[in-house]
Amino acid sequence: VTLAARSGNIDSRVTFKGVSRSYSGDDSMDQAAQNKSIIQRFYEEALNRRNIHLIDSFLAPQVSVQSQSNAALLLNRDGFKNVLTVQWRNTPDHQYRIVDMVARGDEVIVRLVATFQHRIPVGNIPPTGRILEAKEICFYQLQRGLIIRVCTLVDEAGIMQQSLPTPGPVARW
């Protein structure tokens, strides 16, 4: 599996080269269950409790972290920690709630909702103090109990809708 990121309007994306496959067998069920447990703990123990010192026990040294809406930005482990530090400073109440998870073999896909108070501008929209919800779907690949690859898709349009002076209707999970 390789990760490729190219900048530009059309090609700025993560590619899933070599992973356009579907799991169906049961031989990897134990591994999948273990990996789901690791991802659950990653959110609960490291992210939601702001334990920056636990990040190294979940993320492999060679991890790559990428967000779809800024695919040109490929983070390593230290870069991810820096992003977390800024996020926790800007939105100290930020919490993740896992809604659903599907796993097979070394891959886990998580559906979740993040909630946080709107304390900093969203785009050009000034803070409203409202509690916002961000829907996310995240792909994780693990190797020997450590996360080696993360790709996240966040409903940024939904966040903007909720931030408007007159919020638009938003589908909720």
């Binding site: 994306r13 809406s69 891959e107 409903d155 589908a171």
Partner: protein
């Protein structure tokens, strides 16, 4: 064939048929009680809402193709990441056609019972889509 394997095949088949604009399969692949958790309250949901949203996208991007890049199934659930590419040749919400090529990632979870999709939770990277449509040539 396991339930997970069968469900994966169903989602691949749905993707193929939608890329060929074969709307006739919708009634066969979706439950009459289908619910999309992507639709804001007050807007048409169910199969009627699905057909309406497909019509919007096919009008705006008549050549679009959305290809599954990753699919993982477990029991009654299938999670997918897809890559959408098309040309903006028709009205899209309030935007007149720009002729631009666009691409974005989408992702979704499907719940499938007895070979019918009963629920869907999806996301699209619409921020990237609008950035591509609005960037000056």
């Amino acid at each position: 064939m396991s339930t997970a394997e069968n469900n994966i095949r169903l989602i691949h088949y749905l993707s193929l048929q939608m890329n060929q604009r074969n709307v006739a399969v919708i009634d066969a692949l979706f439950s009459p009680h289908f619910v999309s958790y992507d639709i804001p309250p007050g807007q048409p949901n169910g199969i009627a809402g699905l057909r309406q949203n497909l019509a919007i996208m096919w009008t705006a991007f008549p050549d679009y193709q959305s290809n599954i890049e990753l699919a993982v199934a477990e029991g009654s659930k299938v999670a997918v990441f897809e890559y959408f590419q098309g040309t903006h040749l028709g009205q899209f919400i309030t935007m007149p056609p720009t002729g631009r090529r666009v691409a974005m990632r989408t992702a979704g979870f499907y719940e499938i019972h007895e070979n019918r999709i009963v629920a869907q939770w999806g996301l699209a990277d619409t921020i990237t889509l609008f950035r591509q449509l609005q960037t000056p040539s």
